[in-house]
């Protein structure tokens, strides 16, 4: 095998008439379960579509699996699985028929396609219902079929665009678990776009953050999670006194929307909060580990008043 990077982009740029979706993006990544994070419109989907050859970049270049995405798209796409963000399934055929067609269209012979369709649908957790027309499927079942069609030809890399889109919490957990198992137990390289950092944390081991088409950060997930250790405190009464007090103790504190966010340095942080609340005579409503969204992490910090930026 060549020693080329798993994914490399060089000055990759995509401009629409009025918007720049990708702005001279430079990336170099090794295989892994890679989370691609950014707010809606940050350029995640654009990047994925360029890697698939669905979109042509305005300028710059990109290689995936060592293939140039604009010049070797046909070769590349034999080894790529793609799960789009939106609905993409025909309503009047069964999952089995559809996934088998997708397998053959990926280049698999008919018999292999049939066999792998059954395996893959079982892997994603579709059983008897796989013979029914997909028009009657729940959102969760449709997402599973979308994942199955991306996996059926055993790609070397799986590109997932917001795989939990439209799912209820339970189905979302199941989908994330499925993606995590596929990536970590079966060792498939995955690039998963999401605007929810918590989802990325659960599944991925590497994180790429883009914003307004530019690279913000690219690092192993561990280096992020250290910074996302945040306690969310809600109290009854005057929270700003508590904020002042915790700040004096040397903690990183920020107050927003009636919640107090406290950087979790070590276990003593809990003691400080407990003591502070007790001595100020406040009522504790909530104390929990923060479920951070990207917005919390990458928001431009306010510096007025008692607000102190986290991270």
């Amino acid at each position: 095998m060549c020693s080329m990077a798993f994914l490399a982009t060089h000055a990759l740029t995509k401009r629409y008439s009025s918007v720049t979706a990708l702005d001279a993006l430079d990336l170099e990544l090794s295989p892994g379960v890679i989370g691609l994070v950014g707010a809606n419109g940050a350029g995640k989907s654009t990047l994925i579509k360029i890697l698939l050859g669905l979109l042509k970049p305005t300028s710059g270049s990109a290689q995936l699996l060592g293939f140039d995405v604009t010049r070797q798209e046909i070769d590349l796409r034999q080894y790529v699985g793609y799960m789009p963000e939106h609905d993409c399934l025909p309503t009047d055929v069964s999952a089995t028929e559809f996934v088998a067609l997708m397998a053959r269209m990926s280049g698999l012979p008919r018999s292999a396609a049939r066999e792998r369709t059954a395996d893959t649908l079982r892997h994603v957790g579709l059983f008897e219902e796989r013979y029914r027309e997909m028009g009657g499927y729940s959102m969760g079942m449709k997402q599973r079929v979308k994942l199955a069609q991306a996996l059926v030809h055993d790609p070397r890399v799986l590109l997932l665009d917001e795989p939990t889109n439209g799912l209820d919490p339970e189905a979302r957990d199941e989908m994330l678990d499925l993606v995590r198992r596929t990536g970590q137990e079966f060792g498939m390289a995955i690039i998963m776009a999401s605007h929810l950092l918590t989802e990325i944390e659960r599944v991925c081991n590497y994180l790429v953050v883009i914003d307004a088409g530019r690279l913000v950060r690219s690092a192993p997930i561990a280096s992020f999670t250290e910074r996302t250790q945040v306690l969310v405190v809600e109290v009854e009464g005057d929270g700003s006194a508590l904020v002042r007090r915790l700040h004096e103790e040397g903690l990183t504190v920020r107050q927003e929307d009636g919640r107090i966010l406290v950087g979790l340095d070590d276990d003593r942080t809990y003691d400080f909060i407990r003591d502070g609340i007790a001595e100020l005579g406040l009522g504790l409503l909530r104390l929990e580990q923060g479920r951070q969204t990207l917005e919390d992490l990458f928001r431009t910090p306010k510096t007025d008043g008692n607000d102190v930026a986290l991270a």
């Binding site: 669905l54 796409r77 793609y82 609905d87 997708m102 269209m105 990926s106 280049g107």
Partner: protein, 306 residues
């Protein structure tokens, strides 16, 4: 009693398995899409309701052949022809036109409506490959609709003939023109139907557009030629899908269209005789129309955002 080393009847997940076999690439992708699309045209692998219209029209297209064979069978001693091969496509032009109007919009429209195209185009398949597969599916389906009745007549006539081999010796020269004109009809009308059908994912609109293409060209061309055959209007038949195919068919059979003795009815051949434009010009018109139609489809898919 001994304990078995492993628990019995355990439920286990075979899990995800790697695929080490061959990957056949682009040709396999095109072939898979072609086969599925061809079957889909006739509603095979789809709802029963999707089968009704295509099979009904295929049956109607067979009726003239059945009539001819019935007559042949009834008139035992003499060889009797009421429908000759060069006339057949004119007899069944409306069933064939309605067939493409019925199936072409769904053939391409449902992929747009269901947003399936990003899944296709993230596989080893170019956009032009997609068009090729759909075009091939529709053309071969239409060709089957056109050729099956012709084959039935040819074989039926031969069997009814006192000497089948003799019949074959006398008529084998018809085979090439039957296939050539049928193929041209299929490619021509399929290209036009896809050009119209791919513009929208709403099939009533697309089907209406395709029917309008045939009807308007047919009626306007015929009226203009019958009322002002001397002026430049005699070229108006060049944009009529029915007339162009009729002209090509006559040309391949080496038949010169004759004006009708009376001025009552009009037929395509009668119109062509009145227009008096050399038949090969219609072949050029067909080639140009096919090229324009396929280029229109190409533009549609090239510009489509996925």
């Amino acid at each position: 009693m001994s304990l078995s080393p492993e628990p019995e009847g355990s439920v286990y997940d075979v899990g995800y398995r790697a695929y080490e076999g061959v990957r056949l690439g682009r040709l396999q992708a095109i072939l898979a899409l072609y086969v599925t699309s061809f079957l889909g045209v006739f509603g095979i692998g789809r709802h029963t309701s999707s089968k009704i219209l295509p099979f009904a029209l295929a049956t109607i297209a067979l009726i003239p052949a059945v009539v001819q064979l019935g007559v042949v069978a009834a008139s035992e001693t003499i060889d009797f022809t009421i429908i000759s091969p060069d006339d057949y496509y004119e007899f069944i032009q409306w069933p064939l036109a309605l067939f493409v109007a019925a199936v072409a919009p769904e053939l391409v429209g449902r992929d747009q409506r269901n947003h399936t195209l990003p899944l296709y185009f993230s596989r080893p398949l170019l956009r032009s490959d997609y068009i090729l597969a759909k075009m091939a599916a529709l053309s071969t389906a239409l060709l089957a609709m056109a050729l099956v009745p012709q084959a039935a007549i040819f074989v039926g006539n031969a069997m009814a003939h006192s000497d089948a081999l003799d019949y074959f010796r006398e008529n084998w020269r018809d085979i090439a023109p039957i296939i050539a004109s049928g193929a041209m009809l299929s490619v021509f009308w399929s290209a036009v139907a896809l050009a119209i059908g791919s513009q929208t994912d709403r099939w009533p609109l697309a089907s209406g557009g395709i029917i309008a293409y045939f009807a308007v060209g047919w009626i306007v061309g015929s009226v203009l030629v019958n009322n002002a055959a001397d002026g430049p209007f005699r070229y108006s038949l060049l944009v009529s899908g029915f007339h162009v195919v009729r002209a090509f068919t006559l040309w391949t059979f080496g038949v010169t269209p004759q004006p009708l003795p009376t001025n009552g009815d009009t037929t395509l051949a009668g119109d062509l005789a009145l227009a008096d434009v050399s038949l090969y010009v219609y072949t050029l018109a067909a080639a140009v129309t096919i090229a324009v139609a396929l280029f229109t489809v190409h533009l549609r898919y090239r510009r489509m955002a996925l």
